[in-house]
């Protein structure tokens, strides 16, 4: 069960010819796949294309009606390997994952697939996680296309263009026997808009039908001598076929006047940003009608040489707007112009930055610099000679605190790291590595646990240099998502085989939580189409781990501490695996909150816990916050002239997970915390008993206050 449900939106996927679809980019991509007669789909979640997997999962009824197979693949490698179905069979297949990290994982299968070549159209929908909002290293997936010789589409970021690119991508793949990658950037995935739909097409040959008539052709197998033939085929046949198709079908687009002194070559994904800059410079109108000629590369690999030379013809200068590094496209164009002896000046990374996202400001600065240099007469007077000073706005960059992502309110991972921090205070600092997932937030304040991440499922593997042990054991963290993705073999199996004297902590929150709460094999929910409830403990024992400790309630901080202490001090010198399980609070609240409200309204007895802080007992030292970082645990300034520092305060978003109290107790912090259990619809007996206790307590309180000085409850 994913964090966001698309059940309602999925109905729009049934729209037929001539109707208008309104919604997000990822839904448009799904609709385009169905309109293309796709035979099977799959992928692996990860921002920014997690929702595409969620849409596919929620659309399974429709997919089944059309005879389309949906697979929630175990990893990007598995997803790409699935495209093998298109090698021999004329079936269109599409998978999705994020880039470039997903492409890294997929690259083995991707290289094999590219070598073999395809019969049916094979499309990879890639969410390129680059720029603001990205959660990974900043690289380009472009290089993979160049090394494996598959084709890369980068359509203009609007729904009709993206939909067209899906359809063209399949056709290009089939025309050139080559897999095609369709790249969408972070914001394009979630851009909203409209397009005119066509009818869905059931696949002409379904994967089910294909099994009745198996096909094979040893010439497609990557083995010598065929592998040599594949390389030649790529260069001599597939590439020219692709160039011809791109040119004939005009996949790349031209805008603006035919003639011009200067022109801009841009990746399709940069189009809206470039147009916005031209609009701001008075060189384009609201609808994109531009005074500067544009050559828009909806296909960024391969480049069509003839098109490029044609565009450069008669121009004094070209600007290449290519986001990221290195500047593959600019280099290629430079080489084309040079070989042809064309004297057109080529600009790009000299006026635009080599590294970093091409934001509105960056494009504005770079394009202005280009035009000022090559065609100043195009620029409006205001830009050529600004005569108005911008008003001085106070610098707030030192005032505004950074706000990195962190654990959600009530997150079950918080107590794990609180316990680890407490235990490290007793036993000393340890060598700790992180992995990919929400648990990596532990490396940030307030926990500052773990100093590296080497890839999904590779947490324990990245500590393997320290496997022989030493004065203090190395600890590695891995999530349930990473565990099933790659970790079981690469990390845990590796520990067993190498007799690692170290500790691995598997953080099991029942989902692939960081990517949006998709199910994994060990998820506890009953998923109608997937096999869940496969315990992680059985898997680790199965690969040979003898020392396994499981905790099914991570909020029990003393128990968590005890397990860490045992793992770090036991005489056992083999691999030690701790499986810390509690459900992701975000998903749990989403499921339980409405049900609970319903039950309360129906008059059922419900106990809702919440935590609070006694403000007159709290001394404002914030030790609890340094072991929590919970968004609902914040500070409050008291109206008391004797107090300098704000005290801890828990707001109404508290979900009563219990971490505060547990930590206060386990770390012996202070007695300020209390848990308030609100009993909705209590029984008559409960009412009677509570009233009796309240009356007796009230009498005692009155008795004491009568005998001493009191000050209106202020202190």
């Amino acid at each position: 069960m994913a964090e966001r449900s698309f059940k309602a939106e999925v109905e729009h996927l049934r729209l037929g010819a001539g109707e208008t679809f309104t919604g997000e980019g990822i839904l448009a991509i799904t609709k385009a796949l169905l309109e293309s007669g796709v035979g099977y789909v799959g992928g692996y979640q990860g921002a920014p294309i997690s929702h595409l997997m969620d849409v596919l999962a929620d659309a399974q009824d429709l997919l089944a009606e059309l005879g389309v197979r949906f697979e929630a693949n175990a990893s990007e490698a598995a997803a790409t390997a699935m495209l093998a179905a298109s090698v021999h069979y004329p079936i269109r297949g599409a998978v999705t994952y994020k880039g470039p990290v997903g492409v890294n994982v997929a690259s083995d299968a991707l290289a094999n697939l590219s070598s073999s070549g395809v019969t049916g159209g094979a499309l990879i929908v890639l969410g390129e996680d680059y720029g603001e909002g990205s959660s990974i290293m900043q690289e380009r997936s472009h290089a993979f296309a160049m090394k494996s010789q598959f084709w890369l589409l980068d359509p203009r970021p609007n729904l009709p263009s993206i939909v067209r690119a899906v359809k063209q991508g399949f056709a290009l793949s089939e025309a050139s026997s080559t897999p095609v990658m369709l790249m969408v950037r972070i914001r394009s995935c979630h851009v909203t808009g409209q397009f005119e739909t066509a009818d869905n097409i059931p696949p002409p040959l379904t994967v089910r039908d294909a099994l009745a008539e198996p096909r094979k052709d040893f010439r497609r197998v990557v083995l010598p001598p065929m592998s040599y033939a594949h390389e030649k085929d790529k260069i001599e046949c597939r590439w020219p076929a692709a160039e011809a198709f791109i040119a004939e079908q005009t996949l790349n687009e031209r805008f603006g006047p035919r003639q011009g002194k200067v022109g801009i070559v841009l990746q399709g994904g940069m189009y809206n940003g470039v147009i916005r800059t031209l609009q701001r410079l008075g060189l384009a109108d609201l609808y994109g009608k531009t005074d500067v000629p544009l050559h828009v590369l909806n296909v960024t690999y391969p480049l069509v040489r003839a098109e490029m030379l044609d565009f450069a013809h008669g121009k004094d200068a070209l600007l290449v707007v290519e986001e990221g590094q290195p500047e593959f496209i600019e280099q290629s164009i430079g080489s084309m112009l040079f070989r042809e002896g064309v004297r057109t000046r080529l600009m790009g990374k000299d006026v635009l930055p080599m590294a970093g996202e091409y934001t509105g400001q960056v494009l504005h600065d770079g394009m202005t610099a280009f035009l000022r240099e090559t065609a100043p007469d195009l620029l409006p007077g205001q830009v050529r000679a600004p005569n108005r000073d911008a008003p001085e706005i106070p610098d707030l960059s030192k005032t505004v605190p950074v706000r990195p992502p962190g654990f959600c309110t009530g997150c079950p991972e918080r107590p794990i790291f609180a316990a680890l921090k407490i235990v490290q205070r007793e036993l000393g600092e340890h060598q700790i590595t992180g992995d990919i997932g929400c648990h990596l937030f532990a490396s940030l304040p307030p926990f500052e646990i773990g100093g590296s991440t080497m890839g999904y499922g590779l947490g324990p593997a990245s500590n393997s240099a320290f496997d022989a042990g030493g004065e203090r054991r190395a600890i590695s963290i891995i999530g349930d998502g990473g565990f099933w993705h790659n970790g079981l073999a690469s990390s845990i199996g590796n520990m067993v085989f190498n007799r690692a004297d170290s500790v691995a902590v598997i953080v099991d929150n029942y989902y692939s939580a960081a990517t949006g709460g998709q199910d994994v094999p060990s998820s506890r929910a009953n998923n109608p189409t997937k096999a869940t409830n496969n315990p992680i403990s059985a898997a680790v024992r199965g690969v040979g781990v003898k020392w396994v400790r499981e905790i099914d309630h991570t909020y029990d901080v003393p128990r968590m501490c005890e397990i860490f202490r045992e793992a770090l001090t036991t005489d056992y010198d083999g691999p030690k695996v701790i499986i810390a399980s509690s459900e992701c609070m975000l998903n749990r609240q989403r499921r339980e909150k409405p049900l609970q409200q319903e039950a309360v309204n129906a008059g059922k007895r419900i106990v809702a816990p919440r935590f609070g802080v006694d403000e007159d007992i709290c001394t404002g030292d914030h030790a609890c916050i340094r072991l929590s970082g919970c968004p609902s645990l914040s500070l409050k300034k008291l109206d008391d002239p004797l107090r300098d520092d704000p005290v801890a305060h828990i707001d109404q978003t508290c979900v009563g997970c219990g971490n505060c109290g547990e930590v206060a107790e386990a770390a012996v912090l202070c007695p300020s915390f209390y848990r308030a259990d609100i009993v909705h619809n209590p029984t008559g007996f409960e009412h009677w008993r509570a009233e009796l206790a309240a009356r007796l307590i009230g009498w005692l309180q009155h008795r004491r206050s009568r005998k001493s000085l009191s000050f209106g409850g202020a202190e």
Partner: protein
């Protein structure tokens, strides 16, 4: 509430190119996505072409997020919209938190020629602000001042509070303020229809929307903390004690005027902690500083009034038990948690007494002997020290706490009291010794009381920082900049838990 409208005529219209550009800066979990969907639905139903973008994924987990919407009147062709805001090119900026407004200004999204800034004045503290041992809260007044300059129009009030009061989330009040601002060319009914087109929580959202709308229109007053007059005694109790109290307050009245409110608060605190005699002791301790101060300002007296009171009302088992069993606490919790008469409340207290606390409760002589023996302390820890949860709404556990809280009369004989008094007297004598020659240094020495807070380990760490700072003071007491050095050390000590900043500051001062 701030509504600044120097350029209303210009900002009521779409941007110069016919596109309205709207950015929302929020903290993950504030409902920025919902707000974006409402704005989109609103624009489309009103005949506008509209595009929205957001960044989903892990970056949203409690981090700073940005949503961006562009709209333009629908023509025959589709307009080309940008996918992200550019500095200097935003018409409406909605900030769902004060520092996010600051971030928007810092990024150049708020400019005086065109931007209407709609910001909620409340704070959602970042972890870096919350985790410092002192007060690390960022200065919202700086943001406010910058916003007055940067925004063409600045609408600012506590929209979070209004939302919570309406049982909804801030997205709805922000939407209400947006409607009231008339930045978008749509009427109120269309905004409400957009909320109704959503599926969930329509009723609460409409309530909060209305609250935001009217607050913006009417210009609600900033609901600050009402000034409480600290000089009013407001004491209740038996007549005999009230007479004592009156005589104590007369002594306060003899102090210099500016120090009276804080001395009054201090007096209340120590009398509440123990009894009227203790109040007498407090004023006796305070008196010499007031005398020494008579030539200078009142800072020394004020510091003495504050920190002597805090030190005398130390946090022991008796105080915690007393505070946890007061009638006023029940009311405060019920108000904070929001329980009605139909619900009942169970209260669980989290306690973890250690040998130190238990021995601190013993008579001073016996306590000192036991505390000197590590073996005995270890044994007591084994027997008693563990997490204890007490259901203080039940009679049994309540009685236990109530009895402990009633030990105020016995407290003077405990080991903890002896330790605290000795510490306090030593500290005060150090301050007093320089009070005449360097009142500023004496003030700074007293202010070091701020370092001692918390319980158990935190308390011990605070004490050790206190000792480090005072140890340094002894070494540079003769220097003319002794007071400012002490202040620097104290401020450094409050920056982090481990004391790295303090060690750095000590090294710097030693080198100087």
């Amino acid at each position: 509430m701030t509504v600044q409208q120097p350029l209303p005529a210009e900002t009521d219209k779409p941007g110069p190119d016919g596109v309205i550009k709207l950015a929302i800066m929020a903290v993950g979990g504030q409902g920025g996505g919902v707000l974006t969907r409402w704005i989109e639905a609103l624009a489309r139903t009103q005949g506008y072409a509209c595009q929205a973008t957001s960044v989903a994924g892990v970056a949203q987990r409690t981090g700073a997020t940005i949503y961006y919407v562009e709209m333009a009147r629908t023509g025959t062709t589709q307009p080309v919209f940008a996918l992200a805001p550019s500095s200097g090119d935003v018409d409406i900026l909605i900030a769902a938190e004060m520092m996010e407004a600051g971030r928007a200004i810092a990024r150049g999204f708020v400019t005086p020629d065109r931007t209407t800034l709609i910001a909620s004045s409340h704070r959602k503290l970042a972890i870096s602000e919350k985790s410092v041992p002192g007060d690390g809260t960022a200065d919202a007044t700086e943001v406010r001042a910058a916003a007055e300059i940067a925004a063409a129009r600045f609408i600012c009030f506590d929209m979070e509070k209004l939302a919570v009061e309406s049982g909804s989330v801030i997205s709805a009040t922000l939407f209400g303020a947006l409607a009231a601002s008339e930045c978008l060319p749509f009427d109120k009914g269309a905004f409400e229809d957009a909320i109704r087109s959503g599926k969930r929580g329509v009723k609460a959202s409409l309530l909060a929307f209305d609250a935001g709308f009217h607050a913006c229109r009417k210009g609600v007053q900033l609901t600050g903390v009402p000034e409480r007059s600290p000089s009013s005694s407001g004491a209740t109790g038996p007549a005999r004690l009230l007479d004592r109290w009156a005589s104590l307050t007369r002594r306060v009245a003899e102090l210099p005027e500016p120090a009276r409110p804080i001395a009054m608060a201090g007096l209340r605190k120590v009398v509440d902690f123990m009894d009227a005699d203790y109040g007498e002791e407090y004023l006796d301790r305070l008196a010499p500083f007031a005398v020494a101060d008579c030539l200078g300002g009142d800072e020394l007296t004020k510091a003495a009034a504050k920190y002597i009171a805090n030190a005398m009302a130390y946090d022991d088992v008796i105080r915690v038990a007393d505070l946890k069993t007061r009638a006023s606490r029940n009311g405060r919790i019920a108000a904070e948690i929001g329980t009605g008469p139909q619900q009942i409340l169970h209260l669980t207290e989290y306690m973890h007494p250690r040998a130190e606390e238990i021995v601190g409760m013993l008579p001073a002589g016996m306590g000192t002997r036991i505390a000197a023996s590590p073996r005995a302390m270890a044994r007591i820890d084994r027997w008693f020290a563990k997490g204890r949860r007490l259901r203080s709404d039940r009679l049994g556990p309540f009685l236990l706490l109530y009895a402990l809280g009633g030990l105020k009369g016995y407290r003077r004989r405990t080991r903890r009291h002896a330790v605290e008094q000795a510490h306090l007297d030593n500290w005060l004598s150090r301050a007093a010794s320089v009070a005449a020659s360097d009142p500023a240094l004496a003030t700074e020495i007293l202010c070091c009381g701020r370092l001692i807070k918390g319980y158990s380990d935190t308390h011990a760490r605070g004490l050790s920082k206190f000792d480090m700072v005072l140890g340094m003071v002894d070494r540079f007491a003769d220097r003319p900049d002794a007071a400012s050095c002490t202040r620097r050390l104290r401020e450094a000590a409050l920056l982090d838990e481990g004391g790295e900043a303090l060690s750095d500051a000590i090294r710097t001062i030693e080198r100087a």
